[in-house]
């Protein structure tokens, strides 16, 4: 009897980001990707979200290796946290490898990190992994064909079918066709852009649009984009060279990635093109391009400081053009629009998502997703990388393309798809979820803590301190009331004075035998204060009573 094959998503099925998925055969597993998710607004104070790997922690010998499909944060960002407890061979393409090395260095960590190239095949536990070149918004991205004793699983990673990519290397369509011919047991495919009809435009299609914007610009052009998007950066460099502009790079991440990209041969920087910021200041504005990070309005980024007129070396003003060659990541709209408003106040011309078409996505739209399904012709289909709405739509698309509806499985994190000789079915889910990183703490902030933070943020807090005689329950001192985040100083004092009386009245009404029980005194204070603020102000501050027994 053979073992069964299991597909076990730990993250990324039910959300955008947090990508991590296990393929298991018997008691051995390989993990695909190990990414973070950026916190949602409700995850207050959280810096990063990583997948919960307690399933692997409790099965210490199971994981045989981690294979990374490309170098984006939502695919590699959790490595420094996961790698502290799961030290296994980790495989990445050269650019992702370089990004991971930087990251591990910052965290002072080491990992058995191996390099592979698109086209390579190698073994991880019971699996043979083959990396298939695909196009995406970062160089060196791959899909994976995972050969298992029960058949081949194709995991697309993040992809688009860019037929005219900047480096002349379209996705390896013929390899996907060959895999389909040989038989694909299951296809796991990127659902990020499944809501978009048609085909995602080629990276190359941006060239003429960027050029038109550059030619219209009278002064300096500042282009803000993702620091890892080397092809976008290449276009800006080439265009600047062609339009007689020198390029100065602003922002540490961009400087680092341009250097890495050039060192690895992914970026060709025309000699003499780059200048430092001091030199850029001495050139006529129409001879200068600034290439900058900060397209998501990160608070400390170069672009945010420039917009606030708070950057030491770069001032933007009338006559200058600022181009956001980027997508607004959902949740970042408000800070990005704040930056855009400030740039307008400086007098700059600003081109951005809502007003100009100067970005293309790295993810496949419906027609490309259908193409992938038709190339791979899988027995089973599992949509990955998306919220439930994306997964549901992708499953519907697969059904349209001809996969039987009962062979499409919408899984969410922790759901398990089991495949054996008898077919495929959902098995018992495993424990999976989100772990919060806050400062140096990993996992010490949970849902209760977040609920308390939301409560604190909503109404502030009232602290009530009372000292009582341990024997008699007589009040020795207090109640003293202090508030934070409740009301402006003058007004809160007035409320608190009245609230003191409310507490005293409530305590006076307390049965004598209860007065020596701190828990009861505290509960009475809490109830009295809650009632008071609810009634007078319709507010629910966090009430924190403290009783000191002396």
């Amino acid at each position: 009897m053979t073992d069964s094959l299991r597909i076990v998503p730990l993250g990324g099925l039910g959300e955008i980001g947090l990508n991590m998925l296990l393929v298991e055969y018997g008691d051995r597993a390989v993990a695909i990707d190990c990414g973070v998710m950026f916190p949602e607004a409700s995850m207050m104070g959280v810096d990063l979200v990583i997948p919960d790997v307690s399933y692997l922690r409790e099965r210490p010998d199971r994981l045989q290796g981690i294979v990374l499909t490309h170098g984006h944060e939502d695919h590699i960002g959790a490595l420094p946290f996961i790698a502290r407890e799961l030290v296994v061979p980790t495989y990445a393409t050269p650019f992702a490898h370089a990004l991971i090395e930087q990251k591990l260095e910052e965290h002072k960590l080491a990992l058995p990190l191996e390099r592979f190239k698109p086209g390579d095949s190698w073994h991880v536990g019971p699996f043979e992994i083959e990396a298939v070149h695909i196009t995406h918004s970062i160089v060196d991205a791959v899909a994976l064909a995972i050969r298992t004793p029960l058949g081949t699983i194709v995991h697309t990673g993040d992809f688009k079918f860019d037929q005219t990519p900047l480096d002349g290397q379209p996705s390896d369509l013929r390899r996907f066709a060959a895999l389909g011919d040989a038989g694909v047991l299951a296809l796991l495919s990127d659902s990020t852009n499944v809501e978009r009809p048609g085909v995602t435009p080629s990276e190359r299609s941006l060239g003429p649009k960027l050029e038109a914007a550059f030619r219209r610009a009278g002064g300096r052009v500042l282009v803000s984009t993702f620091a890892s998007h080397l092809h976008r950066i290449q276009q800006v460099l080439d265009l600047s060279a062609r339009t007689g502009r020198r390029v100065a790079i602003v922002g540490r991440g961009m400087v680092q990635n341009v250097a890495t990209g050039e060192r690895l041969g992914y970026l060709r920087v025309p000699p003499g093109l780059l200048v430092d910021l001091a030199e850029a200041r001495s050139l006529p504005p129409e001879r200068v391009t600034l290439l900058s990070t900060g397209s998501q309005a990160e608070p400390l980024s170069a672009l945010t400081r420039i917009a606030m007129n708070d950057h030491k070396q770069v001032q933007i003003g009338v006559g200058d053009t600022v181009i956001f060659s980027s997508k607004m990541i959902p949740g970042n709209e408000k800070p990005i629009f704040d930056v855009i408003n400030h740039l307008h106040r400086r007098g700059a011309e600003v081109l951005y998502e809502t007003t100009a078409d100067l970005h293309v996505s790295g993810h496949a739209s419906q027609a490309e997703l259908a193409l992938m399904l038709n190339l791979a012709r899988p027995r089973y289909f599992v949509p990955i990388h998306g919220e439930y709405r994306h997964l549901a739509r992708h499953a519907a698309l697969a059904a349209e393309v001809g996969v039987a509806q009962e062979d499409c499985f919408i899984l969410e994190d922790g759901d398990v798809l089991e495949i054996d000789g008898a077919g495929a079915r959902r098995a018992e889910p495993i424990s999976a979820g989100r772990v919060f990183v806050d400062g140096k703490g990993v996992g010490d902030v949970g849902d209760v803590v977040l609920r308390d933070r939301r409560h604190l943020s909503d109404g502030g807090m009232i602290l009530a301190v009372l000292a009582v005689n341990q024997q008699t329950g007589t009040i020795i001192s207090g109640p003293d009331l202090i508030s934070r985040g409740f009301a402006i100083e003058g007004e809160s004092q007035a409320y608190l004075e009245r609230a003191k009386e409310v507490v005293l009245e409530a305590l006076a009404a307390l049965a004598p035998e209860s007065r020596t029980v701190p828990a009861e005194v505290k509960e009475e204070m809490r109830k009295a204060l809650r009632r008071y603020f609810k009634k007078t102000l319709e507010r629910r501050p966090v009430v924190l009573p403290f009783v000191m027994e002396l």
Copy 2:
């Protein structure tokens, strides 16, 4: 010597919402609109934002009246708060009038509220006001021509030029043309959609698209839209009648507005069309339309509860179609997508902004804004209703249409444009801004309170209580440490135990003469705890030391 004319925006110029603008002549003013803004994510715990009217409060006889251009919340919502202190004649069209009456009743307030109709003219202080019919996403919306001793000001309100509106009453183009012929001193025009090229589609253009969605639907159709959008509601009613569906209304606001709309003659409800929810349950699914509020995923709304399978009378499932005939208001995307994900989990087909084109905006796009400029041919131009980026772009559009650049004034809230015989110029700004409503408190939450709430939400809080001998400074009890929103219980206890020692060490190192000064003891505790949590965890909880002297 004549007085000068002043345009004084109190809200809505620098943000979407909060619309309120004064036109002053000498020492008398009329206010146009009195709207709220919905709080941004950073305004934690705030329920509503209203304009700061201290400028008027300090000049009690100045305001002669408030004229409301239409019944949307961002134009009338602040009335119940402002009306407590500024009781002046308030003018509204019949539908807005009905909405305001409901609102005042809820607040147990009365106002000298007058009704006017499009086409009416009347006097307010030194001004003659003329209401000009325009189309918008609510019935009974008007632009205003304000005749002043120095010339006519045209304030567009919110508008679009719908040439084929559902009620057959397009905007009064010829009146705008006549006003332009007679001479417009200043045009104040809606900038909300200035980023969109072309023309906003007609409300009527939705008809065939909604019909196609209805005809495709096999089961029940639930349409969610804004409760005040009577023309949208009319389309859903007519379409249901035409496709053999009965309509059940879900949600208090929708029930109320349908009744008001029918009573005022803005809505024609075919006899026998409406059924209650109990009856709707007894009908075959393909014979039922549900018309619902909750398009913004308001937490208690009918649709949100239906999505969570938590509505007593309505369950949505496989075979049903849910249509969001609405825009996602910026900032609401995440909760709306949560609702959409849940509806997909229920098995429903869901049509929404990103996947279907079943909503049209009520605001004019670039070509319509240019048309308004060409009709009015103003001497001066002031873009209104928008963030800075909208205002800047609208000013640029006006310049393209032929208004001299120096005659376009980008004002923000509190800026003053002064016009007299010698021309127009910026005058000294006045005090304006945002007032926060939190529960029953109006204005008692300010920027410091919000900063504290953000700080509390970010790292939670640590309370440290110490009782000391007043004379000697000897510690009688404590330090006791309590935390909220800091770390999960087990872990926080461990941190707090260590932190106690840190406090004791810091206090031991304090000079003896400082130990009897509570302020110094508190400051030392605060510093020690901050340092400790920063160093060990990279966190910054709010530290609240409390010293009790006995």
